[in-house]
């Protein structure tokens, strides 16, 4: 299937977790819309962190080759989002760290090297990355 092939050529679950984490982090400052935009409010930072994490998640769908760098930035921003957005009540931070770690650890390897498993379904697995 086309979707399965597409999914197997990028850090799919890492990106999904990262987008979820970004949305959770955004939820807190968006609920404070009255005070968020007051001058001097820290919640604006939360809005920025949440937005950036969501963007990183979406970017890793379309730029899989940059996933290592994106993952590191996601972990960093997720931790900082505790300031200003309470890290999506910490769930956003935890999801962000796991998603970021998955993005960082994701790689494309020649099929023969994969943990002893024979290339069973070459049609589904075969793909080249840029």
């Amino acid at each position: 299937m086309v979707f399965k092939k597409w999914r197997h050529t990028r850090p799919f679950f890492g990106a999904i977790l990262t987008v979820l984490s970004g949305l959770m982090i955004l939820w807190v400052p968006l609920n404070l819309y009255l005070s968020t935009f007051l001058p001097g409010s820290v919640a604006v930072i939360g809005l920025m962190f949440g937005g950036l994490i969501t963007l990183m998640g979406l970017m890793s769908f379309f730029l899989p080759s940059a996933s290592k760098a994106l993952g590191i930035i996601v972990i960093f921003l997720s931790i900082l989002s505790v300031i200003g957005a309470l890290g999506g009540f910490l769930f956003g931070t935890i999801f962000g760290i796991i998603g970021g770690a998955l993005l960082t650890a994701w790689q494309m390897v020649p099929a023969q090297e994969s943990a002893g498993a024979p290339v069973a379904d070459a049609a589904a697995q075969a793909a080249k990355t840029g």
Binding site: H8, T9, R10, P11, V28, N31, L32, S35, G40, S41, V42, A43, G46, G71, I72, I75, S78, I79, V82, I83, G84, A85, L86, T93, I97, I98, G100, A101, L102, T104, A105, W106, Q107, M108, V109, P110, A111, Q112, S114, V119, A122, Q125, A126, A127, K128, T129
Partner: protein, 190 residues
């Protein structure tokens, strides 16, 4: 097809656990540093509805009060007053909210045994009972079609003692609650 290298997606377990551990460690360090200093940033206690704030003494600087209509847990628009205080210290602070669960009342209470320092406080209250002292107190009426701007009260310092405030919305930019304790208990309510 002989020249094409078949590639597949793989998660490097070692890198994953390494990144996860590093992330959690950094988070731990951040939280511990908050714990040590007792500072939480941008803390909202909104949408909880009517809850009560009680304390022995509050000393604040840069006080401003104006009336407004705002949301409570039982009404979309209830008359209330907004208090804005730039910097304040509160002794023996207690925040509590009572919930009816079945036939019983449950009280969720947060209290701080040591003085609490807050900056950037916005507090919407429906009732304020306290012994109050002000410096440079100014009450001003303004000619405005917006009723919330017709009356304003400002003072350079404010001291409230033995206060009880019925609160609808509370927002602090930073709060330092040393010796915080949260309890959930059953209460008798008539």
């Amino acid at each position: 097809m002989n020249g094409a290298v078949v590639m597949e997606s793989k998660t490097n377990k070692k890198a994953f656990w390494g990144a996860l551990a590093a992330g959690l460690l950094a988070l731990g360090i951040l939280l511990v540093s908050f714990g040590v200093s007792g500072v939480a940033y941008a803390v909202p206690i909104a949408g909880v509805g009517d809850f009560y704030v009680e304390f022995d003494k509050l000393e604040g600087e840069g006080y401003k009060f104006y009336p407004k209509l705002g949301e409570t847990s039982s009404s979309d628009a209830a008359p209330q007053g907004t208090n804005i205080i730039e910097k304040l210290t509160i002794d023996n602070l207690q925040l509590y909210k009572d919930f009816q669960v079945g036939g019983e009342w449950i009280r969720v209470k947060i209290q701080a045994s040591k003085p609490v320092q807050i900056s950037g406080l916005q507090h919407d209250a429906g009732l304020i009972e306290a012994n109050a002292k002000f410096q440079n107190l100014a009450l001003a009426e303004n000619n405005s079609t917006d009723w919330t701007k017709q009356f304003q009260q400002t003072s350079s310092t404010i001291i409230l003692e033995n206060a009880k405030l019925k609160t609808h919305y509370l927002f602090q930019e930073t709060i330092n609650m040393a010796g915080m304790k949260l309890t959930v208990e059953k209460i008798d309510k008539k």
